[in-house]
Structures are given as C-alpha cells and as structure tokens.
Symmetry: C2
Subunit: 255 residues, 2 copies
Amino acid sequence: MENERPLILISNDDGFMAKGINELVKYVRPLGDIVVMAPDSPRSGMACAITADRPVKYTLMKKEPGLAVYKCSGTPADCIKLAKYAVLDRQPDLVIGGINHGDNAAVNVHYSGTMGVVIEGCLSGVPSIGFSICDHNHDADFEPTADIIRSITQKVIDNGLPKGICLNVNFPLCPEIKGVKICRQTVGQWTHEWARRSHPNGSEYFWLTGDFENHEPDEEDTDNWALNHDYAAITPTKVDVTAYEVMDQLKAWNL
Amino acid sequence: MENERPLILISNDDGFMAKGINELVKYVRPLGDIVVMAPDSPRSGMACAITADRPVKYTLMKKEPGLAVYKCSGTPADCIKLAKYAVLDRQPDLVIGGINHGDNAAVNVHYSGTMGVVIEGCLSGVPSIGFSICDHNHDADFEPTADIIRSITQKVIDNGLPKGICLNVNFPLCPEIKGVKICRQTVGQWTHEWARRSHPNGSEYFWLTGDFENHEPDEEDTDNWALNHDYAAITPTKVDVTAYEVMDQLKAWNL
C-alpha cells in the first residue's frame, strides 16, 4: 500500500524555488513519499513567526508519484500548520526543514525560519530535523551533505526522536566533511548589527548585518567548533525552554 | 547623576500605541529611566523574527525627562537590536516586553513577538522580562497586574538574572490575582488551527485560529495551571535550547 512508505513533510525559509530545498528533496526521495509546502518567496529570519493578521493561501506547483510541491503565502511555521490541515491525509512521519542557505548554529536557532519549521513539527508531535549549510550562495554545492542527510533521515525514520526534541543539523562549507559531531549550542552573540544609510531626503535607515562573536571558540563540544573544523554538527534541540535550574532560586524571592 | 538610575528598554509586539505597553511604562517609570522602541503597528506572532530583506527605520514620538518613546518599522526583536545600536548611550540594565494583550504561556513562548523582545534582550546579555495577560481585548484592564509587575521588576533590578535566563510572566484574567507561582512551561499543542474561507473567484484561503489543548491540565507546577487558578505564572526561560539529555543516545547512533 502506498501509505506504508514514510510520509515526509518538507519546508524551508528560502522559498520553494531555492536550490537547498530542491536538493534536499532529491536526497531523501528514496526514503519516503514527499510533500513540500514552502514559502512562495524568501522568509529568512522569520523564526517561528505565524501569520495572524491576514489570510494564508497555498497553490499546488507539481504533482508526480511520491512527490507533491506546494507554495504558500505564509511563514515557514504556517507552511507546516497548513500542510497538515489542508493537504495531508495523515500525520507525517517526519518534518524536515532546509537545506538552509546559511548556518543555524549557536544563537541562530532563535532567528531561523528553517528551525521554525522544525520547532513547529516538533511541537505538533512529529520527529523533525533541520538541515543548514554554512554557505549563503544561492548556488551553494550541497552534494557533500547528501550521504549524511540520507543517513540521519533514515536513522530518525527508524528510531524516532524523544518527545519534544528535534535535531538542528549544520554542515560546514568544505569539499569533504570529516564526520558528524553531536554538539551543544555555542554561547555567543551578534555584534555590529546595523549598517546606517541616508535617504536622499536626509532621513536615516538601517540594514541588519553583523558579526557573530563566539564566546567559547575552543570548546570542542559546541556546534560552531564542529563547523569550524569541517565536521557536521547535530545539536539536539528542545521545545521545553523552562530553566528548571533556577526555579528554587526564584521561589526564594518570595514574590 | 542621571545615569545612575536604571536604564529600562521596553518593547512589545502589539505596537507602541497599544494600551499594554503604555500601562507598563506607567507602572515601571518610578523604577528607572525608560526608553521605549516598539513596532509602529501590531506584530503579533512574530516570535524572534528579524528583518533581513529591507531596511528598518525609527522615529522619535515623545521625549520628556526619564522617558523617550520611539516607533520602529521592524520586528519586536529588531526594536531591541536597533535601540541598542542607534538610540541608547549605554547598555540597558533591563529589557522588558509587554504587557502583551494575550497570554504567552505554554508553547506560545515560541510564537510570541513579546517573548522575541525578551529572548533578544537575554541573548544580548541584559536581564529581560516579558509580561502578558490572558486578555486580547484592546482595552484590557491591566491595573490588577501593576503591583506584581513593579515588584518583579524591582527584584530583577536588584538581583539580576542568571546568564542566559529570562522571565516569561503571564497574568490571569481576573479582578484579584491570588499570588505568584514559579512554573514550568505547560506541555500541549494548538489544534483546529485554520478556518477555511472562499474568495468570490472560487479560490480558498485560510485564517489562523485554533484551540490550545493542554496535555497536563492537572499539573500544578505548570504555567497554565497557575493561570487557570488565578495566579500569576513566572516561567524562567532559557536561550540555550540544547537537549543535553539525549546527547549520549544520539552518539550511540554512530552516524
């Protein structure tokens, strides 16, 4: 029966036309039936944003055996919500975001629309993986990631993931990836974040830019260390963001 | 000296005109010098989104001793980044998001633009607090929250917060709040998320809606339990989302 094959729902934040998502579909297509619902244009930096103030639409762009591709007017997280509501006839076995053009390691997990896809999948109870590469080039070479992507995807299909936990997988920009490291999120922050410009009318405006300042460049268990040393970084990521370790301290404030 | 007073940077996702942010300013103004930089119109559900594809502007709307108010064309997180870059002459002592019209308990922390403000503040190393109330009404009565907001704010000014940890504070909708509980994030998920409509041309579109399904309604340590029982809920929230507890399990996959 057709629906014994795993059902894999894919989205991203670079849009359905991006090379990254199309390469991803190519790599994982042997592993299941694929439904893509991805933004109709780039939505980088959209995090887990949802569309509350206007309606959302989708359009079928391609349908062939084992693959359907839809574009959607909403955010990356909307894409997952809407695909599950409107086009899937059963719960997907897997949600994948990516392959993102640009890494989502360290604090970028909080801004990433691709990780928005993954967190949305995870919140809805589906094992979910995000793939990203340290290359913003629209024609990035994703080929060195193909075997690792298939291998991680198959492992998650076979084993599932613990409830409330998803994977944030980042690939280095290098011709040969040395291997895979299980990592923690690097501590650091963005600095020099704006470039100031003047409009001809004299008003000022600002472009978001910035440098990432790694606060622990020598810590070998961090995702940025792995990427800087040509390893793929898998950072297991949780959707329960409670800081359990400070609850007693806060109770002592006697508010 | 003027700058011995704490410098408090405030934003939200409902926009600078919203009642919630103006009430917040009123409540905390005795505690420090206030700079508001908030979106020029509502940005609900924007999470930690940042603006990557167009420039961002801000405009001074009001300046009086101890208070400056700016509106900004960007997202809630942009507001914090841009205020720090362009209008503040020193690191703020505190970032506050809110008061949000609508709660940000449970999984809402992932979608909330108000919590985007708070996470952005926390990532930049500033003690940060989000305040939200279980009332979407534009004319909500925030008065029952005033004393608790001042008390929490003063505690954070006095004690700081541990690095990488911020506070997600939610208030029940009730005339008299029974007290404050230190909580964890409720496990649950949104269901029935879309309402389908037809355009006169026959095409379909969808409005985001939904019901929150609480998976643990009887757990007294959750934020939703507190809110449902007329307590304010303080959920300490961390920006390191690594799932440390599954790292060994993933290493055993031998990828």
